[in-house]
Amino acid sequence: MDFLNAIILLLNYIFVPALAYGSQLALGAIFVTLIYGILRFANFATGDMMSFGTMVAILFTWYFQSKGITLGFLPTALIAVPFAIIFMILYMLTIDKLVFSYYRIKKSPPVQLAMVSIGVMFVTQAVVRIIIGPFDRRFFDGEKFILKAMEFKEMTGLNEGLTIKSTQVLTIIVTVIVVSLLFWFLNKTKTGKSMRAYSDNEDLALLSGIDPKRVVMITWMIAGILATIGGVLYGLDKSFKPFTYFNNMLPIFAAAIVGGIGNPFGAFLGGYVIAISEILITYAYKKFFTYILPETLEPDSLLQLLSTDYKFAVSFSILVIVLLFRPSGIFKGKVL
């Protein structure tokens, strides 16, 4: 019985939150990796682009809510997402046309493009803050829990409860759908293959008649979809605040690099690696060991490897270690 309790404890505090958080990171990381693989620069505007998409979704959600349109037990934001994606894609294509395409045609070094993306970051951040303000916004509605701790305890008769928030399940399901669609697209369709070819060897791809403009456009569209969905899922699960989104850029970058930048599957797994290690290392295991160990051995300290303040630092340290020992990432991306 104690053993079961211990497992439920870990599930409740580590694996369920880590899976949800990891999915959110994974979507962002695939976004970073796609831009890096095909457009060949590190996009420092990642976090702010995600917050732009989320902002549009929030505005649509408010509009629908004011009209009385809801999805019942599901959050209203789900109806808003498709509209937000359209706006986001338009925004990204405009930015590409106005800013990035010039440097791409000139074949500027990646560093210059990264600098330009900092300019885009400033502008996007300003636009988001001017339109919706810098404050914390919650836009979740509908049923909050799928499984409450009390219900679980009654059902199983265990001491430990298992709470599953609907946003967590939603996040995981949506991520699985989006990512499988994306991999199907990249691996099976002609356009997807042409994108991979372009990423692998630009000159060869051009020779074989692949239209670079089309590839770039589709990349931005996919990026827009990923950014919006990732951002909205994060916002639903936690809350929307422009500054948090900007900060999320850092673990997202870590996930993309850990997974091997330029490799979407690596980025996907990288998100979970980062999320799980962040939570594993900062969790206090005291209760877990009280269940597992006999009473005489019960620990009296918290048994926490690092305090939760260092959550971000953990993922960055992992990144540094990966960069040191395997600079191409865990799952070979572009070799540096």
Binding site: I118, M121, D309
Partner: protein, 456 residues
């Protein structure tokens, strides 16, 4: 003379702008803008040494700034005796353990051939060391933080004059840069950018949460100053005499004695804050000028030429027998040290250390905008960038407010859009920075004052 014309023109415009702020807003604002412009100039010089001279991209400026700030605290705050008694000894042992770990790992790396066994030994050393650190430091930290947590709760510093911290801050930053450089300099440019950015976040996390060292988010306030305090000035006769002298014509117009005394008091209060700011400006100006002379000399020395050669063609420089790795590390350390000095200067100026306020937007990306806008590779350009961008950063809100009021003047006061726009005035500075950066990158990628190569 003619080749310096654009430099002189650009700086004259900048000074004129600051004077305009002084006349129209107030001299205190103008001088604090000037002071921060000078601090920013030091930071941009540091970044410019790395980016402009050597083409190394360092997005960790925030981390070095914070370390400089930490140096100011550790140097100037007087030691907390009780805290040292409570846990100082254990902390010193911990320091010894860390040093021991580093040396034993180095020894292992040197003595044992590359193999799985070596990796396991290193891992063992690290894990064992961390556990030991945890056991020793845990209770000590608790005791230190329990010493008057509202006032101190940390070990304090050395109690030396705060000016020393400017040098110490440089050394702190150089030490960090050595580690970061060893780890990350082999990476490709954009990876280096990401790695340094993340490492600087780690540094901030440590400073923010190790309360025994820096008081963390509880902040350290009331740091000592290298310049006189306003209150002391207001009480000293020589200062009042000077103020009297400067304003004698105005004072003589007032006939009533009590009224004249009131006016004089007000003048003294204003003048004291201006005087303090001016002394700060003088100190900062000395630093900027010294650094400018050194960096200019370095840039046009054989060493500077070599750095440019490495930047422009690494392989060719390598083939000519230049040690590219070593020179990169050196310049990374030098540039970071300059940033560290700026960090210490800033904390000295503010008189307080707030680890929570270190954010990448303000301390990394803004500095990069300064370098790019001013002109990378040109020290005068970097300083100008620091001035111009900081000026715009501060004055963006008033400018935006003015523009919005002007363009919405036909709308009624209750118009929702107008109110919303006026409320979000502070965020227009991001917009201006972004658009400015994008325009400069597009139409004048070499910056306002481009790099100049003097042929000898």
């Amino acid at each position: 003379m003619r080749q310096y014309l654009n430099v002189i023109a650009a700086y004259s415009i900048m000074i004129l702008l600051i004077i305009i702020v002084g006349v129209f807003q107030s001299w205190t604002i103008a001088l604090s803008i000037l002071n921060f412009c000078l601090i920013s100039a030091v930071m941009t010089m540091g970044a410019n040494i790395q980016w402009g001279y050597a083409g190394l991209i360092n997005f960790g400026i925030m981390g070095y700034t914070a370390l400089g700030g930490l140096a100011a605290v550790l140097v100037s705050v007087s030691p907390v005796g009780e805290a040292w008694q409570a846990g100082g000894f254990s902390m010193i042992i911990c320091l010894g353990i860390i040093v021991g770990m580093v040396f034993s790992i180095r020894l292992v790396l040197k003595k044992i051939e590359k193999s799985k066994k070596r990796n396991y030994i290193i891992a063992l050393i690290i894990i064992f060391g961390l556990i030991l650190l945890r056991i020793i430091s845990g209770p000590a930290i608790e005791h230190i933080e329990a010493v008057e947590p509202a006032k101190t709760g940390f070990l304090g510093g050395l109690g030396l004059p705060i000016l020393f911290s400017w040098i110490v801050g440089g050394f702190f930053a150089a030490g960090l840069a050595y580690i970061v450089g060893k780890v990350a300099l082999g990476l490709r440019a954009d990876y280096l950018a990401i790695a340094t950015l993340l490492i600087s976040e780690i540094v901030i996390a440590i400073i923010k949460h190790e309360d025994w060292l820096s008081r963390g988010v509880k902040n350290v306030i009331g740091l000592k100053r290298p310049v006189p305090y306003e209150i002391d000035l207001q009480g000293s006769t020589w200062f009042i005499d000077i103020v009297k002298k400067f304003n004698s014509s105005e004072l003589n117009l007032i006939s009533s004695l009590t009224e004249r005394q009131d006016v004089l008091n007000q003048l003294v209060i204003d003048a004291s804050s201006v005087f303090v700011k001016l002394t700060f400006a003088g100190l900062f100006l000395i630093v900027v000028i010294i650094l400018l002379i050194i960096t200019q000399k370095a840039l046009y020395s054989p060493w500077g030429r070599m750095m440019r050669a490495i930047r422009d063609n690494e392989e060719a420089a390598n083939a000519m027998g230049k040690n590219v790795v070593k020179e990169h590390l050196l310049i990374f350390i030098l540039g970071s040290a300059v940033v560290g000095i700026a960090g210490a200067m800033m904390v000295t100026h503010d008189g307080l250390f707030t680890p929570g306020s270190y954010r990448p937007m303000r301390y990394t990306f803004l500095i990069w905008v300064m370098v790019i806008v001013g002109g990378s590779g040109n020290n005068f350009g970097a300083i100008l960038g620091g001035f111009a961008v900081w000026f715009l950063w501060i004055e963006a809100a008033p400018i935006a407010e003015f523009v919005i009021s002007l363009s919405t003047s036909h709308l009624p006061e209750t118009n929702a859009i107008k109110i919303h726009l006026l409320e979000s005035v502070p965020y227009f500075r991001f917009l201006m920075m972004g658009i400015g950066l994008l325009l400069i990158m597009r139409y004048r990628p070499q910056g306002i004052l481009p790099e100049k190569i003097i042929k000898q």
